[in-house]
Symmetry: C2
């Protein structure tokens, strides 16, 4: 019977091969997948215990054949085929850049990014990790930023269950041998995120290292081998986005040339060309470079999304705009109202924003880093925003009002008045040749009030006289 694989799911070939020597370094394994006259070459990887794997994400329905190639006879010349069948349920394929400033699933549906962070949720043990997944199922977030490596920082004092390399914390790591269990666990979590519809913005390097770990201070060869291995293993997961780093500029041992090289290695080893970016602390990496697919930005001023769109000509994701919470750090103490405001300020300037949460917890379980449950008040409002984003569709900045405003290609408009305004009426400059319905949106109370009558040209709109109000004009 023919193996059936859904489009954008994973075909996996398991092969027995040599256990001796160093399989990570010494064994070459690739496979060529064919659909009609098209061929795709993918690398295999060693998964321990003498098992070698080849994974492939088909993007076309129909019959695919494959043949392996290896410098080890047991792995060489293996042939086979499978039938790629229609994608079902929530499988819409990987997310791509769409219409220059936006995202869409390969299947065609636009993707409206509402991100969050649980940077090292995957290093917290099964109980907490399962709880995080349960929380995410009910949350508005469709993208999660998370790290491959564990994290040492305030509120992050625990050791992870697995380490990425052979060796031990007490001795030295064997940087020439990966720890398959580590990656098996990582990909299990990525798969679970995929199955609940959450994109994984996978952070490949970050600065919050421990003296005993040293994963931010590996040498060039180790960095490069690590990237090849992780990309080879994980690229077949359709929900992967590659983030070269969190706060790349805080990694003292990496130069700009290193970051450029990392982008190229990721690009060269990813047959599916997933989204790629890099996240800053202070200065930005030049998002104009050709291998960057979208901007990934840390800044509080999400209203500058329009400026960055113009500067880089790519989708703008402000992945870190501060965290709803009450810790002592200035970046982790914003109110829920401010968090929701920063999302609306980004949206109403043509960008996408990311959430995070840092409420003090007796066991140091802060959503921001470890996951668990949400304690804040912003997430229901982000669900409300997501519905409005879907309704507006892919937007671009507009000048229909004095404040932040956007329009879509159906000729509808939205103006967001911000976090400190209390106008009791407001003007919106609609085109004179059309008629519009107007709705007044309270972004915090999550109400939408349709206004009486129709509007055209410069239109006065009555408002409730409080902050967090948006006006939406829909062409009749």
């Amino acid at each position: 019977m023919t193996t059936k694989i859904e489009k954008w799911d994973i075909f996996e070939l398991n092969l027995e091969g040599p256990k001796t020597g160093n399989p990570f370094l010494e064994v070459d394994l690739t496979a060529t997948f064919k659909y009609k006259h098209r061929t795709v070459e993918v690398a295999g990887f060693y998964d321990g215990e003498g098992v070698y794997k080849i994974r492939f994400m088909p993007d076309k329905e129909g019959e695919w054949t494959y043949e392996t190639d290896s410098n080890r006879e047991k792995l060489n010349g293996k042939k086979g085929s499978f039938a790629c069948v229609k994608a079902e349920n929530n499988n819409q394929g990987p997310v791509r850049v769409d219409n220059k400033y936006h995202f869409a699933y390969a299947e065609g549906t636009p993707f409206y990014q509402i991100g969050t962070t649980c940077y090292v949720w995957n290093h917290q043990g099964d109980e907490l990790e399962e709880q995080t997944l349960e929380t995410l199922k009910e949350a508005p977030f469709n993208k999660l930023r998370m790290c491959v490596f564990p994290k040492r920082y305030d509120f992050n004092q625990n050791e992870p269950e697995y380490y990425p390399f052979a060796g031990s914390l007490e001795g030295d790591w064997d940087f020439e041998r990966f720890n398959p269990e580590f990656f098996q666990h990582l990909e299990k979590r990525i798969k679970q995120l995929r199955d609940i519809g959450v994109q994984t913005d996978l952070i490949l390097f970050h600065p919050y290292d421990d003296e005993k770990w040293g994963f931010s201070r590996m040498d060039e060869k180790t960095d490069d081998r690590y990237l090849e291995y992780v990309v080879t293993r994980l690229a077949p997961y359709r929900n992967i986005w590659w983030s070269m780093a969190n706060e790349y500029d805080l990694l003292e041992n990496k130069s700009m040339a290193d970051w450029d090289r990392f982008f190229r290695i990721v690009q060269e080893n990813d047959p599916y060309q997933h989204l790629r970016s890099i996240h800053n602390c202070r200065g930005f990496y030049d998002h104009g470079k050709p291998w960057v697919t979208h901007c990934s930005i840390q800044r509080h001023e999400t209203g500058k999304a329009d400026e960055w769109r113009q500067k880089y000509g790519k989708p703008v994701v402000i992945d870190e705009c501060g965290y709803e919470g009450n810790i002592h750090h200035g970046w982790g103490n914003i109110t829920a109202k401010e968090m929701v405001h920063r999302f609306w300020a980004g949206f109403s300037n043509g960008g996408y924003v990311g959430h995070g949460e840092t409420y003090v917890h007796p066991e140091d379980i802060l959503w921001w880093s470890k996951g668990g449950v949400l304690h804040g008040e912003s997430s229901p409002r982000l669900d409300f925003l997501k519905e409005i984003m879907k309704d507006m569709g892919q937007v671009k900045p507009s000048d229909v009002s004095w404040d932040n405003s956007i329009e879509n290609d159906r000729g509808n408009y939205l103006a967001y008045l911000g976090n400190c305004t209390q106008s009791i009426n407001y003007y919106i400059d609609l085109p004179e040749e059309n008629d519009y319905e107007i709705e007044v949106i309270d972004t915090w109370d999550m109400t939408v009030e349709k206004q009486e009558g129709t509007y055209s040209g410069r239109s006065k709109v009555d408002l409730p006289g409080k902050p967090y109000i948006a006006i939406k004009a829909t062409r009749i």
Copy 2:
């Protein structure tokens, strides 16, 4: 009996002279005032009905003598003397730049600027003007921005009672003859402000003109003569500050060379060298030019005060940061909380801020422009802030916390956490060699809570977990 004039009050000499011809153009009149070997030459001016006036503000106690000089015999060679006596009551002299970034009265007391605007309150008729004065008596404001010329704009549709030139609205103005009644009224209001302790930030030009008025579009000669006349008449009022313009960059008929010349004319004609600045809409005038005494800035981002201090090396006054109110304009719809926040953000970055208020009113009486009474909630909080400003004294930016922070020369610190934070505890990095008392200030609820114990070095401070909080550390 010798005339007695308080220091920094006005000695005024009234002389009868020619009524015929054009006294404004044809009659030259000056007087030389002497104290011991020092001489000060001041110009006189024509006040209509054959009356010529010379005004002088003495700055030194003791005997002053004077002698006039004129091209008309009746006005020439008039001599006399007066005794300059001690300043009494609230007379502290004019305000000067002090300690590079600050202000102080000539008498020595620091001046902590809490400004407001009633741009054309002086053109609203006696009833409303008297009400404005009553309001100001009880308000926290110690500086008022106001225009010489009337204003035409939204909510400003009424004609003024007086016009600055002879002629009429229906015919042409006689730009070679001033209207003394206009200036008598103006100086009466300036004197009343002086007597209740309010500095007059007098705006000499502004763009909100009427087609029938044309005061923003006069020719060079008229502009220059107007400046000479107004400076000659009003410089003796100790509470005068000269503001070349409101939104200078919106006056279409003026070039940068004109603004430079205006500064020089004001400087040349003011024997007392009152403070001089110019206020922008979009781009700044170069406040680094030598004739500018302090920055007068329109910007919402008052937290940039430190940046502008560094850039210009002068006191920074953000005279316009938006208006508390609910009108349809984006600049005139901020909440009281946001207004108070912008004051604290400016203060905690080493600057000074200005208030204004724009609540919709059935008769279009908006404080911002016409005065009347205050409707908002920010002003009591500005009174509270003023007390803290006085207590902190002249401050400079500090790096004692992650957020906006300042210090004074007694080694005390203040950190302001802003409008969107809710930390339940916070660290402030105090010097290790001293002990401090800590107070937690709620800038909106106007409470000051002294914390138990003493603090030194990196200090954790418990906070109430809501926005608008400041921490003050006082060296023991």
